[in-house]
């Protein structure tokens, strides 16, 4: 099997995000960037499947500006075989990303496409499902366990009520939950080796996809701040406040 894994470069999850003073977005200059966390789980799962002998090749792909390539390089360092970077500058919405990925799938013909269930920047949770629709492939979203069978996958999904298990035929799209696995760190020798692995550069414009956003971001604001609370001295005071001041018990 051949697995295509999509990764996205986002503000690192440990960074306290700040809104720009002119309300046009959030501050990204001089801010640490990393791979979107559940995309790391997607890469890890692909590598594990390859290590188990059930996959032959892993191709890592990202769509974004020049520096987005770092995320592909990181995937190569933990076990992907080669990379693809589709270059686009500026805002690109999940619909356009999924159309780009569709073109790449048509060319690469993978059996599986893995990606994180959601990007922690725009929090859209759309790309995997959209790609599945465009390809008319089955989708298994929010995967917390994947069992590779002959021509199918059995996938356990995290849903509101608990866990759901479905079986999807290959080819399929899987979006990965953080609980799927524990992503490994790249070793120094593997980071060095990854520098020699090829990354193919493609301009989004050459794929003939219109990436113009369909949604205007009118403004970005700080969420309303909670008014500063108080510290209570002891449990008695806490219960008294909850009862008589907040009136919630």
């Amino acid at each position: 099997m051949k697995i295509l894994v999509a990764v996205k470069r986002v503000i690192d999850y440990n960074v306290q995000v700040r809104v720009k003073e002119d309300n046009t977005g959030v501050v990204t200059d001089n801010v640490k960037m990393s791979t979107n966390p559940p995309d790391d789980n997607a890469v890890e799962e692909a590598v594990k499947i390859k290590e188990s002998g059930k996959a032959k090749e892993i191709v890592a792909i990202t769509v974004g500006e020049e520096k987005a390539q770092e995320t592909v390089r990181k995937a190569l360092a933990v076990g992907a075989d080669r990379g693809i970077h589709v270059k686009v500058d500026g805002v690109i919405e999940p619909l356009a990303v999924s159309k780009i990925l569709q073109k790449i799938v048509d060319k690469e013909k993978p059996d599986l496409v893995f990606m994180g269930k959601q990007a922690i920047d725009d929090d859209c949770n759309q790309t995997g499902q959209m790609l599945a629709a465009l390809l008319n492939w089955p989708q298994a979203t929010f995967a917390s366990k994947i069992e590779v069978k002959d021509k199918t996958l059995e996938v356990t999904r995290e849903v509101d009520e608990g866990l759901e298990t479905i079986e999807v035929n290959v080819p399929a799209i899987i979006t990965c939950d953080l609980r799927l696995n524990e992503p490994r760190y790249a070793s120094l020798p593997n980071i060095m080796k990854a520098k020699k692995k090829p990354i193919e550069q493609i301009n989004a414009a050459d794929l003939g996809i219109d990436t113009k956003p369909r949604i205007d971001q009118i403004k970005v604001e700080e969420p309303p701040k909670r008014k500063a609370g108080i510290k209570v001295a002891n449990v008695e005071e806490l219960v008294q406040k909850l009862k008589n001041e907040a009136k919630v018990i």
């Binding site: 440990n14 929090d123 759309q126 959209m130 089955p138 009520e161 298990t165 609370g229 449990v235």
Partner: protein, 317 residues
């Protein structure tokens, strides 16, 4: 034009988040139609027809909708989408799984997880796990919208009498098969809709110590939550997780015990009406969002808290 909302249900009852989504949908467009895709689901169609905000119910009853498979639902929704300006559903795992598949086939750039309706094409939505709010305007002719349920009150469920019409089923996908659903049953209120939530974090130190949380939860008729750290440490199962990757809760009272207040946890609870933090580290970030902070050892404070609650003659249920 009218709006079309896709209902979530189990063929017997409507799921609560659909009621919140109905409130938001009728703010977008009062002429709200609801699509019920199910099997032997007459009672669901009937109960939705009694919601005053609903103007029409389109009921498609077919065995392919016995279990929820996004591929099967998508085909039916696309078939019914033509005469609607907005396609809407709740932004829980049901709607998150379904709506992008519909949007892509309709060539619409979806607006996910809105928390406020500003106008029929402009919405407020959280980004970066709620650390920023974006006002966005959709320029597609038809719009696909998902609703964050906890940001809208549930719709009234009686007094209406919308017409129920039968609709056609869509295609069946033979590439996806439902195998099983393991629902986690509990006598407690559901985390997503409970009036009071008490959550434990890494400070609980073990799964056994969650007994202290359970005792208080029993007294207050509260749901039990947990931070990701507590779930990852194996103290409690992941269906209790509150946060960016778990559930977003907005109870009247949220009690955070032994939780430091990582950004991703705050994203899941900071809209709660009243927040209490009990933590022995006075510098813990959780105190910056707490209305009432108690700097104390939780192993000392929780039994005392329960004892004080027991002294009260009345506890609101």
């Amino acid at each position: 034009m009218s709006s079309l909302l896709i209902a979530e249900h189990n063929n017997k009852e409507v799921k609560p988040f659909t009621l919140n989504a109905i409130t938001a949908a009728s703010q977008i467009d009062p002429d709200l139609h609801v699509l019920v895709l199910g099997h032997n689901s007459e009672t669901v169609a009937k109960s939705i027809s009694e919601i005053p905000n609903v103007k029409k119910v389109i009921h498609v009853d077919n065995e392919i909708y016995n279990n929820y498979i996004a591929e099967n639902f998508t085909s039916a929704v696309v078939k019914h989408a033509e005469n609607y300006s907005h396609i809407i559903c709740s932004a829980n795992t049901f709607g998150k799984n379904l709506m992008p598949r519909i949007a892509a086939l309709l060539d619409i750039s979806q607006v996910s997880d809105i928390i406020k309706v500003i106008s029929a094409d402009t919405f407020l939505r959280p980004i970066y796990a709620g650390n920023a709010f974006a006002t966005v305007k959709s320029n597609d002719a038809k719009k696909c919208i998902t609703i964050r349920p906890t940001s809208f009150e549930p719709a009234e469920t009686s007094g209406g009498s919308a017409e129920i019409v039968k609709g056609d089923a869509g295609e069946q996908s033979n590439h996806t098969k439902f195998i099983k659903k393991e629902e986690i049953k509990s006598d407690r209120p559901e985390l997503g809709t409970a009036r009071i939530v008490i959550s434990g974090g890494r400070g609980m130190q073990s799964g056994e110590n969650f007994k202290l949380i359970q005792d208080v939860a029993d007294k207050l008729n509260a749901a039990i939550g947990a931070s990701r750290a507590a779930v990852d440490a194996g103290y409690i199962t992941n269906d209790h997780q509150v946060g960016q990757t778990g559930k977003v809760v907005v109870p009247d009272l949220y009690i955070a015990v032994g939780i430091s207040g990582a950004i991703q946890h705050l994203a899941g609870m900071k809209e709660s009406k009243i927040i209490v933090a009990i933590n022995k580290d006075g510098e813990a970030p959780i105190f910056s969002v707490a209305d009432y902070g108690l700097e104390a050892d939780l192993f000392d404070a929780l039994p005392k808290f329960l004892a004080e609650l027991n002294k009260l003659n009345t506890i609101q249920k």
